[in-house]
């Protein structure tokens, strides 16, 4: 009992002295810094994804109005012969008037009464694209004329924004493109079941639309353009990249030339992508005279950019094949070329393919070089099928995103974020495929 009363000298190992304490505290701090750093990086990733997903998911839903439209023969087809060539003379303005009348009728039928709703506001309630939608439908099927058809048309982007939280009654007062009366009309139509916000497939398939019609803008041309460029990149860079890797890894003598090639490739992998854009502009467009905005030029530029990114993993994959395979092949009388192409290359194929897919994914997201070769142009027409289509004007997914961010209407920010989701889905699929390939086929020696 008395022992406890005696003050102990702190010599026990279990009782750290001041210096040990401070060293331990430093240890804990250091560890915490590391943990915080990892956390910050993960948080940044989360913030990035949340911001994009939060802004972009709504692009996949779109508000549309379903109404009965009477298609009078007197205005749409005076000749009465239902010849689409003749009917083309009626412009979208003509169809717009018919639509406005139909909306007026629908409002009256539903018994909706809204004060100070002018006729112009009813006309502007619909998207500028609505009349074109109706016109296309009638031209495709002239027999509709003279009948009353049910048609679903897009409404104005601001009305769409009202259901996505971008527009409110207060903001509408200050906005020249939308009025509170229109919002009331929208609410009334929604109640009557004519106005619905539903899944928007057209966002992925439709072509781009003008500044004034964010509700109609889609990614169709951009997706096709990106697809064409990826085809070109794949067709060109896979054989060239693999051939280069095989030569450097298996055949190249150790001399100045192969050293030069090697240094060159590792440097090219780190050259800023915009420099490749300058090369494309100077070499392919100004010198070779290829057309601007064409997938062929984009594909060539991206090929040059992707090559080093394919060669490096391909060489690693070839290097990972053990020399015993080569020796065995040579031992039973194969030539050097046969040993490489019959044995080493097939064994390295999974690794090469993985590198190829990752390189393609990088090329898919590349924007800067494409800006310089004119892919930012406003393109509404789908490119033809390959090979002619490779020379038609088109845009690409990332460039379309950039293009939309440069427009004034805030609805395009939603579109841009939605387009990024599409892009990220492609990237996740490609990278997932690469991981799958690696898991399934990669051999450890």
């Amino acid at each position: 009992m008395t022992d406890a009363a005696i003050p102990m000298k702190r010599t026990s190992l279990l009782q750290p002295d001041a210096r040990t304490k401070s060293r331990n505290a430093a240890e804990a701090r250091f560890r915490a810094y590391g943990f915080v750093a990892v956390l910050v990086a993960l948080l940044a990733l989360a913030a990035l994804l949340v911001s994009i997903l939060g802004n972009g998911m709504s692009a996949f839903r779109q508000t549309a109005l379903t109404i009965q439209v009477e298609l009078p023969e007197a205005t749409l087809d005076k000749s009465g012969i239902r010849d689409p060539e003749v009917m083309k003379k009626v412009t979208t303005i003509g169809y717009g008037k018919i639509l406005t009348k139909a909306v007026d009728a629908a409002i009256a039928d539903a018994g909706i009464k809204i004060e100070d709703l002018s006729g112009k506001e009813v006309a502007k309630f619909l998207s500028g694209e609505a009349a074109a939608q109706l016109r296309d439908r009638v031209l495709a099927n002239p027999d509709l004329i003279g009948r009353t058809v049910e048609i679903e048309v897009l409404v104005n982007g601001r009305i769409d924004g009202y259901y996505k939280g971008r527009v409110s009654a207060e903001s509408a007062l200050l906005d020249s493109n939308v009025s509170p009366a229109q919002l009331k009309l929208a609410d009334a139509l929604k109640e009557s079941g004519m106005l619905r916000t539903k899944f928007n497939m057209a966002f992925v398939t439709a072509p781009d639309a003008s500044d004034q019609r964010p509700e109609a803008a889609g990614l169709g041309v951009a997706v096709l353009g990106s697809l064409y460029m990826m085809i070109i990149v794949l067709v060109l860079s896979l054989p060239i990249g693999v051939a280069t890797a095989v030569y450097l890894e298996e055949f190249a003598p150790r001399n100045r030339m192969s050293d030069l090639i090697e240094v060159n490739i590792s440097n090219l992998a780190a050259v800023p992508s915009i420099v490749f854009g300058i090369l494309g502009l100077a070499a392919f467009i100004n010198f070779a005279g290829l057309p601007q905005s064409a997938p062929i030029v984009g594909g060539l530029v991206l090929t040059l950019m992707t090559l080093p990114r394919i060669i490096i993993p391909a060489r690693a994959a070839l290097k990972a094949v053990p020399p015993s395979i080569r020796d065995a092949a040579l031992g039973v009388g194969a030539s050097k070329m046969q040993s490489v192409f019959h044995h080493v290359l097939p064994l390295a194929a999974p690794g090469i393919l993985t590198g190829m897919i990752i390189g393609l994914a990088q090329a898919l997201g590349e924007t800067a070089p494409l800006l310089l070769i004119g892919m930012v142009a406003f393109v509404r027409d789908y490119p033809d099928l390959p090979l002619d289509g490779f020379f038609d004007p088109a845009t690409a997914l990332p460039v379309q995103i950039y293009n939309w961010t440069q427009r004034a209407d805030p609805a395009f920010v939603e579109r841009a974020s939605g387009a990024i989701i599409v892009l990220l889905v492609f990237l996740v699929v490609m990278n997932g495929l690469a991981i799958l390939l690696r898991r399934r086929f990669e051999r450890r020696w």
Partner: protein
Amino acid sequence: MPLSWTILALAILPVIGFVLGRNRAISSAGGDTRNLHSLPSYYGWSVALFTALPAILVMCVWLIVQPSVIANAVSGLLPEATPGDANAQTLVMTDVRRLAAAIETGRSVGILSGSETAQEVQGKLSDLGVVLGAPVTPEILGAATAWGLMAERGGGLMSAVVLALALVGFWFSYRRITRDFRARNSIEAAIRAGLIACSVIAIATTAGIVLSMLFETGQFFRQYAWTEFFFGKNWQPNFRGNSDLGILPLLWGTLYISFIALAVAVPIGLFAAIYMSEYAGPKLRSFAKPAIEMLAGIPTIVYGLFALITVGPMLRDYFAQPLGFGSSASSVLTAGLVMGVMIIPFVSSLSDDIINAVPQSLRDGSLGLGATHSETIRQVVLPAALPGIVGAVLLAASRAIGETMIVVMGAGAAAKLSLNPFEAMTTITVKIVSQLTGDTDFAAPETLVAFALGLTLFAITLALNVLALYIVRKYREQYE
């Protein structure tokens, strides 16, 4: 279409050659393939290769050269609109080329017979829905007709030459097949040549980059003094001429933004790498390492949009405006922060590899002497890994300097020499994009300056990369 027939012939002839060559080889060995020098298919391949390859090469060269030869000949037919003005000449030639293509479509549809006047041609083509850039004048119509005629003749001549070449190749290679012919060696030599040609493309690309930029930069410096470019403090391009094109404000913006990006990425990336390689358990590591590396796989346009719609407005509303630093959403800090996030994985994964490469014996020695884990890292592991880490940081810096989309969307377009990080500034890459997009006139210094900027950028990043690779390589030799 004679071209597609030629291509079809070039696809079929080698197949026939393969079969015939293989059969000849087998029959020359008396039906017993053991008497042959090589496997029978090699004989087939050697015929196919000789049939197809020279013909295809000639066809490609012909297709590339023919348009410019015709253009030269046709431009002689045209009255010189404005002598010496190369630009007007190019425009006229574009019209001619377009009209020639339109006339060919018109012929193939059957609405043009070839004897119309200029007005009639224009009318009929616009009925067809073909849009022409300029009104059709008799001179242009004449030139376009000549163009069409020459293109037709050239195409016919090319088909003849190519097919003849294919047949000669076939005959030559078919005749030399005997049982002792070393077919495998000749095939392998051809494949080897192909492999070498592919690997030379890398050098050609670099040469192309350097040459194209050097050429245009030379043109630029003929119109604009290089001292003004490298030491000018003003950037005010003016498309009516008389512009100030000093690189210093752009260089300052580039370096400032890259500095902020590195100030974000180096501590986070380095500490993350240390934590991952020295402390983290396998569970956290297997989750966090791919997650951080995902940051590198996200396209830069995504970061750009993130800067534009999230980070920029946030910095403006919560920091810049309350503190009175300005009211711009695009700022150096916005771009720097977002770019910092982007290059975290470049620093962390390279540093991770390098820290893992430090031999365990060094750690064991230090721990055995009683150092704590963090003391071991700070005083033993990091000094040993330092050259590699410096290399990683240099690579990240070169990445930051060459980054385009984040700064285009996050940093703004105003060229300024200022210290305020909340102000919009601009970089070399932003100006390359803005000078080269839209309507560009490749004779004006305002456009050509982009090539000089590009060359500068290329030189800076190349120097950083070479330095980084040198340091990393030198370090690696120590432990291997």
